[in-house]
Every structure is written in structure tokens, then in C-alpha cells.
Amino acid sequence: MTERTLVQAVNAAMARAMAEDPAVLVVGEDVGTDGGVFRATEGLLGRFGPQRVIDTPLAEAGIAGLAVGLAAQGFRPVAEIQFTGFIYAALDQVVNHAARLRTRTRGRLTCPLVIRAPTGGGVRAPEHHSESPEAMFAHIPGLRVVVASSPARAFGLLLAAIRDPDPVLFLEPTRLYRAVREEVPDDAPPLPLDRAFVLREGTDATLVAWGGMVPEALAAAEALEKEDVSCEVIDLATLKPLDEETILASVARTGRLVVVQEAPLTAGFGAEVAARVAERGLMSLRAPVRRVTGWDTVMPLLRLEQRYIPSAARIAAAVRDAMAFA
């Protein structure tokens, strides 16, 4: 038995990848001696040494650009951005370089790198530590976007992300870092980077969620079961590329879609999911698509953050609405 929390699973996936492939490096602020502010890189310095676990100066644009250079030379850097709000400084390097070096050089130079970053709120963190920026990254051609939501899936997805030949943004919900433990063996296989996970089968409504919203969606489904409403819950996990087929097949069975995201409503990734279903699954819908999201406001500081983050109750209410429609 190897029970792990999500952050321990992330750690184990990096350790496994580093043990298997000497090209894998870990870079970032405080990833060495400190083991990362969330302890995601704990023990890696001791095990793999300072040549492979590298504390960088405090510079996110530099970290992302450094990873591009390392990757172009055949390394597989796993770069940690310490907190969600500081990933924006790295955006230039991700958009203009990591995500398009392959295209620009027609495959001559490539970027097999992973940028790991915490995401989401709910842990009483300081300002700029609680945002959910996934949609901005999903908009970038050439970048894969993965959001973890359980220890086992985090392990398999991160392992796959590190082995993938292209750049991957790997988001880890801080709220789930230590929320649950799950059996995650050291030799668990990588998981596909283009497949959503059906976590619960149901017949009345499809709940699509990712990251920190997955446990909320499951809790809503649990509550609705007592009202004889049967929900299918899908963890999207890989936002890009998006597993349209799993969503469409589910909606074809249930006829109702509720998309849940912690990020603000407008131009969030939920809009993409809704649009795909509108394009290819409209005829299966028996009710309008609902989105349960954060508000179009700045993420509040800790006192009000719980009122911002979508709750199981809000999700359940949206499902009831959809049920009432027809």
C-alpha cells in the first residue's frame, strides 16, 4: 500500500520520471533545500543532486525561458511556478516561445517541458495566490493544459506530461494538495493526455468539472442522488486537447449539461465545453447548458473567498434548474 496525497503523488511522479530519465530536471524558486513551498519537490535535491534540482533566482520569465533553452538541448525540464498569480510573468515565454518553437522551426527545435503551478483558492492564501488561469493557457496554440484533481490521476498525468514531447502546463489545485489520500503505487502507469475521466455514471445530467471543482461536483451528485436525480460526473483533466467524445457521449445519454469551473464566467474554459456541445450535441440536449462558475470579479481575499468559489450547493441548484426545464 502506498497511500499518497495529491502533493505527494506529484512528488512521486517527478521522482519516478527523474529516476527513469536522466534528462528530467526540476527548476524553480525554492525547489531545492526547501523542497518547494508546498513540499512538492521535497527530497528530490537529496536524491538527485543540485545538477538536476535547481534553485533559480526569483524570476518567472527567466524560469520559463530557461526551460525553453534546456528543452531545446534535449533536457526535460519540469519548472515550478511557485504560486498561481506569478505565472503571468512567464506568459511571454510560454506564448511566444515554448508553445511555438516546434512550429517556428518546423520541428527542428522542440520544447518537451512541463510548467507546474498551483491553482485555485480556498486555502486562506495571500493576495494573487488563489486565481484559476487555465483558460488563458488553453487559448495558446501548441500548449497542452492539464489540471489535476486526485492523487492517482495527478501521478499518471504528470508522468505523461513529463514524457510528452511538447510543452504542458500542469495545474495543481492547492485546496486538494492534502485533501485526501489515495493508493498511488510507484509503478502506476502514465495516463493519456487527451482523455477525460468518467468518475461517476448517471442518466439525468452530465457534470463536467476539473481541478478543485471535481470534489464539489461529486458532492453535488451525491446530494442529488437522494432526490432521485442521477448525475454523471466527468473530470475533464486534460483541457487541451479536449476529449469531446467523452462529453458528447455522456450528454447523449443524459440530455443535460452543467459545466463547473472555479475561474470567472466570461471566456472561461466552460464556454469552450458548452460551445462544443452546442456544435455537435445540440440535439441531445433537453435543457439549456448551465455553467456554475466564479464571478466576473477579482478573486477576493481570504475573508470572502468561500463565497466566490462554486459550492456543491450551487452546482446542485443548477442541476435542479436543468431538471425543471424538461
Binding site: E29, T33, D34, P57, L58, R124, H129
Partner: protein
Amino acid sequence: METVVARFEIRHRRHLGPDGVPAGDLPAFARDPAELVALYRGMVRTRAFDQKAVALQRTGRLGTYASSLGQEAVAVGLAAAMRPDDVFVPAFREHGAQLWRGVTMRELLLYWGGDERGSNFAGPRQDFPVNVPVGSQAPHAAGVALAMRLHGEDRAVVCAFGDGATSKGDVAEALVFAGVWSLPVVFVVNNNQWAISVPRRAQTAAETLAQKAIAAGIPGMQVDGNDVIAVRDAVAEALARARSGGGATVVEAVTYRLGDHTTADDARRYRDDAEVSPHWREEPLPRLRTYLTSLGAWTKAQEDALLAQCRAEVDQAEADYLATPPQDLASIFDHTFAVLPAELARQKAEATGDEP
């Protein structure tokens, strides 16, 4: 053939060493004991505030907090050098400067307690709020300084950031702007020698942080950041130059972070007592107290009275903070735009529908 085309040196200024004995003549302001007592009070008050904030965090009544223990002279010294109508652009560890300039303890506690109203302080109204994305405030300081220039004012800006921040592009860019346009801004580097677990030597191979100024074409100097007299003196000198059109300066204040990075950090993971303890002998409070005592300007009774006064002030601030009624959820919508768009008004109605 090669010739030398540029040379530079970085000077280090100290007036009062750890033993509390002045090294040479003190600057004019420091010959008035009342001025020194005010600086001492400012530092003691800051330390009292830090202690209270940490205690509140430990008991779940404050969010993550960054103590300024041991670095009080940087914040108090720079603030004492400023005029009230100057603008301060802080990082997140200059509580002493914010308090000196009139932000209240209750307001600071609100901010660190996760309530945005703490950044809407009653005064000084033009100062920037605490800045968390490291270094990103430095270009704002250049912008504020350019605005002052465009307005033809003799005001100036002081911008603070840490040793870690000097690695950020934002800081390099701000220095470049300030240099090419000779802007009225003083960049104060709180070099507390650590950026979380990363020591100063791992941030840059340069010998000093002050010399980052040289590449931007502006003067840079180092001061003993535990000597409040030197900090105030150097920043005042830089501000005088800035006001008279002489442009920007970098003042690197060398101090030490005696505590954890924040309440979320455990510094024992990456540095041991042997590294920390010598720095307790250098910290800013005792040296000034020793000097004031030697002047006959400070007594045990005054010390006790000051400590009691600070305790009473922080206790009162705690009570006021805890008694502040919470913001309602509407507040997160109401300040998003000058005028609430109809669409956001709908979201607000949905969000607040269940409010009493």
C-alpha cells in the same frame, strides 16, 4: 588596443555600528536627540505590531503574515526621509514605513486578515498598497515619478523591494526608465539576505545589489540597513537629488531577516541557528538605544513607558480590527468597475440573492 571606458565603485555607509558608538560625525538631523528618539519609537512600534500580527495569525485570526523582525530600520529610515506628499510604493515587508506614514494598525491588520478595505487606507491616499507579485511594483514607481515630473512638482517616490526582487525583469526595467529620464525616484533594496530559502548569493553573482544601478546609469550605494541613521541619511540625500532634477538612486540597505519568511514558512528547513544567531548582535534596536542612553536621552523608565504604550496601541488595534464588521459579498462586485455593468449586476444579484 584596449582602454578603460568605465569604472565604478560602490560605497557603504554606516553611522552607528552594532556597539552603538557613532563612526565619525553624524548627519545634521541625527544631532537632535528628539529626532533619534522618534526613529527609535518608530522601530519599537513596528516590532510590537509584527509580534501582534504573528500572534493573531497563530491563533487563526489573520492570514499569512510577513514579519519585518530585524529589518525595522530599513522601513522606518526610508519613511522618515520622505515628505508626507511624496509617494511610497512598497513591497510587503515595510510595515514600519506604512505605519510611519500614517496607515493605521487596524488597516494593516485588515489587509493581512484578508479584507480589501485594508488597502483603502485613510492616509496617505496616494501611496500604493502592499505589493505581493515580487518586483512588479518597481515600474509603478517609475510611472508615478514620471507623472510628478510631467506635473512639474518637486515631489518624489520611494520604492521598496527585496534582494530577491532585484532578479526580476520588472526591477531592471524600472531602473532603466528611471535612468534614461532622470526620474525623481529612490529605489530602496531591503537586502535581508534571503528570498524565502534562496540566499542572496544565489540571486546574483554581483558583489552588491547597489551596483545594479550602475548599468542603468544612476548612482547606487549600500548602507548598513540596521543603522536607521544611515538609512534615513542616504535616502534623504537621494530624495534631495531627485527633487532637484538629479534623477534616481538605488540604496541597498543590508540587513537580515531574523524570522521566518512568513508565518507559512519554517526557516529551519534551510538555515540553521549558527547562520542566524550572529545577526541578532547586529539588529537595529539595541544599537540606537545604546547610543541614546549614552547621550542621556533615553532612560529605563522611558523604555518601559514606550513598551507599555506600544502594547496598548497594538491591543487597541487588535480590538478595533476584530470588531470591524465584515464586508458583504456585494463589495467584490462594486469595485470591479467605476460603473457596474448590467451583466455584472445580474451576477451580483445571483450571488447576493441568499444574503440576509
